[in-house]
Symmetry: D2
Subunit: 299 residues, 4 copies
């Protein structure tokens, strides 16, 4: 990133307001940039499939407590006894937001003092019964689109992104160029930062990740969904709220948090290409602020 | 179904044992008939896509108590206050087995006195920490295959299957023929019985559904997954355990319970075809006996 | 109740405001009328004990779904395996408010447009993390006081209070007189309405109970806690919010909901006295709006 | 403890079997040593009350994750909107066994290869629906008895019991003597080990506590309930299962785990006496292996 000067926080804050997608798909729109995934876009994704190879991007359901998993997911079993036959049912309970469980954020998940997605007021739209606007059911028919993986560790020649060097939008541009792949309208942009290697060395919560300038890259390319394994960089130097998560409420871009990307990065390298058909199928929870998902890439 | 004589319970019980798929994919196999979905099979499914139209087969997350929903799904909200910005997270908790939530059953879910899938002993394999064999992670890379819908109400000219007339395997054969569609190896067979129309008239739990002879149809065609909206018929005339659910442990066939099929049936009628690419992406829960899913069909 | 004319709703509403206990124990007080239970009052309760007989007023933990139990309490088991030894732990999860589980309401539980207990604003004090004022920890040292049971079915010669004839404050006065028992400052007033007999005949939610005029009786006697088995009458003739539950926010009186009173009524009849030492020991949940409890009477 | 030689593990194991209370209160008895708390015993406890001072022995509901609280208790809020009035209900969910939440263990909670309380077989009695024998409802009428506190830190002149020096039964005898208090039949023995001071220095799970020889002391005095704040010592030198927890299944003695004892110890010192009326009122959970409680001492 020679000669690259990062934008100031002031500039980033101004851009986050000036380039909002509010009203772009109507004042009552709850689907945001997922609107960019038309039937044609899906056909484009389908056309990428050649080998039929599938790769899951879903981490294991996190039942084990840890510093980075302070509220472990619950799993309880209950037997069914019917004499000659039997069975077992189970209970799943979880707060899926956070840093462990693979999930998608609905547009209602976060906001700043300018408001929620499309300018709505969280004090009105969010109740203890659920979100009344931009909940996860807005994407209830599932998300199938072209996915593009950008592999930061491979580009850097380092196992994982470190706290002192967050990923900037300019670096994403460089990696795409180096990988020979375009990122365009309606795409799912998947950024691999080396979570597993990071987690081997660091058990604490929080960590490195993407710089706020990545939001500019996302907005420039009209990306529909941003997937990642290390999320926003925890940057003490900035007071900017939701540095990259802000694409939810400003640009209407879906976020796929805590994706498992190591196997996908390996598959891309083996396949020799960084694009694929991506399937993300959130549960239909009325009022829900997101959903656990098992995203799958098909080559 | 002229001249059709249903098989006796004795015959059905004998067949359930004689035609087991145990050992077919190895003694330690946990994936069962999903093994039939090879990369080639997935490519066959992808090749069915023409319009890019997607249809969800997922019911809404069932939060409202009802006689048929005795253990309503839980949803709680928690606000995040960060001064100028904010957000909201939520908790989902549910027993997804039962008659309300759209979910997939893992092969470990049920058994009879002959044992679990592949002959395993539930007393050994099922612990209060989870299933140690044939759990839902066996299908962790997702299920993408050719789906075929058989529309019983349309064929019968009645709004829904009634208790006095369960769907037999022979009728499935007739419907497939009438619809001009084949059901074959590795397919997902989706049987629409008119749940929504049934539920408008009946608020009690239980109900009509598929006769045990449908399991024979499933086994004959080497189906990989059976999806349905009304499940096994509650037939007081038989003491057979798990009349159709038995395909899980005997044949290794996945079950997609409580699917929302009315919109899919309408789409098939509109598209003039009863085959499509089906995507079912279960969460990766180690030890889990199944997973809530949002199955999506693409035409 | 000859010559008794019930107060108008207007009069009851006016009284609910005019006789508020706000500020009586200080502007920041969160304990309300439980302040009336001094060490001396506890000694008075202890002095009532003669036989050492104890009677629980706690219903069984309600795990079974029913129309009056739409959100059944959860109970899951998990085994501990340690080789030669073992054990089992369990999970309890519940929304204890409602019509099934025996529990005590904290003063923060309900309000009207005049505000919460002591004039606080629920929009300020209630967050999704818990109540910041008048939560259940205000009574964290437990409640031990003189209890008095008023037995309505016995007085009426009917098995349970019916919907067309709610219990009025005047009737409480009559019953106390007939039973030869006084109700005074700091007492726990326990009103038995015949829940079990009612429930045998009625499976629906809601039901008969106490008329708003009982709140006047409670306020006149400076009662500290009101316990009951059938709660507020669902009176379609009135639009008054929280007819009797209003004693929480107006008078600072604790409510013991869904108490099991049939055994206590039987014990009182056998013992020939309607007063006893009552023990109610709520869990210390910071921010909690109440607690499940097992109230015990000792004679 | 001059000239004190601790018993060997072999001797302790032999004693645990030889002195079992199985059958003492009948072969089907589920209440164990709580049977020793007769009406007369309760009257003895009541007779101890002089000042009416109450002290809670309940820790705060542990919502905050920590190394010693790996499965934090859940608390969710839900608003009720009724126009001019309103309210709030909440959800509590928790695994109360462990090292954080104040709770009582039912006799079914643990076992060794000799069996559960009264010789029952856990493989038969414990199901995924709950315990069928010796569950917490055996003590459903509550426990009110004489309580005796033994204050180890005060006796040792150290802030808390350390890992290298667990509390032996012989030391309990010495402390009782030094405090001038007897421990006898049907009493609740409460042993304070300095949990709060320990926790300030140690954030890890596990820790110091009582040596297996304390079980002998408990059995010798025919104690009905053992309460403590630091539980069994984690002694790597012994392979004995449930060193002190074994009093549950061998002697039928109730355990009050994770009690808050610092305030009680302070109160005892101030009052100049180490005996009081103790109230422990477990919830009535059919099949439950214990209950969260708020134990209260009255002086």
């Amino acid at each position: 990133m020679t000669n690259y000067t990062p934008p100031t926080e002031e500039a980033l804050r101004a851009e986050r307001v000036a380039r909002r997608n509010w009203g772009r798909w109507g004042d009552d729109d709850e689907a945001g940039a997922i609107n960019l995934i038309t039937a044609e876009k899906r056909l484009e994704a389908v056309a990428l499939v050649r080998s039929g190879r599938t790769v899951s991007m879903c981490r294991d359901y996190p039942k084990v407590p840890a510093p980075h998993n302070p509220n472990p997911a619950q799993h309880f079993m209950r037997m069914i006894d019917r004499g000659e036959s039997g069975g077992v049912v189970d209970y799943y309970g979880f707060i899926y937001h956070g840093q462990t469980m693979t999930h998608i954020d609905a547009l209602c998940h976060v906001w700043d003092d300018g408001g929620m997605w499309n300018g709505r007021d969280p004090a009105v739209e969010i109740t203890s019964d659920g979100a009344q606007f931009a909940d996860i059911t807005a994407w209830g028919d599932g998300i199938v689109t072209r996915g593009v993986l950008l592999d930061v560790p491979r580009h850097r020649g380092e196992p994982y992104v470190t706290a002192d060097r967050p990923v900037h939008g300019e670096e994403l541009r460089e990696i795409a160029e180096a990988q020979g792949v375009e990122v365009g309208t309606g795409d799912a942009l998947i950024v691999y930062s080396g979570y597993e290697a990071f987690r081997e060395q660091h058990t604490e919560a929080g960590g490195p990740g993407l710089h706020a300038s990545c939001a500019t890259f996302v907005r420039d390319r009209d990306v529909a969904l941003l997937g990642w394994d290390l999320m926003d960089a925890r940057d003490p130097a900035t007071s900017m709220p939701w540095p990259v998560h802000g694409v939810l409420y400003s640009y209407g871009v879906a976020l796929l948090d805590n994706a498992l990307l190591q196997p996908l990065a390996a598959a891309c390298a083996e396949e020799g290409r960084y694009e694929f058909m991506l399937m993300v199928l959130p549960l239909r929870v009325p009022g829900g602020t997101g959903s656990p998902v098992n995203p799958v890439a098909m080559f």
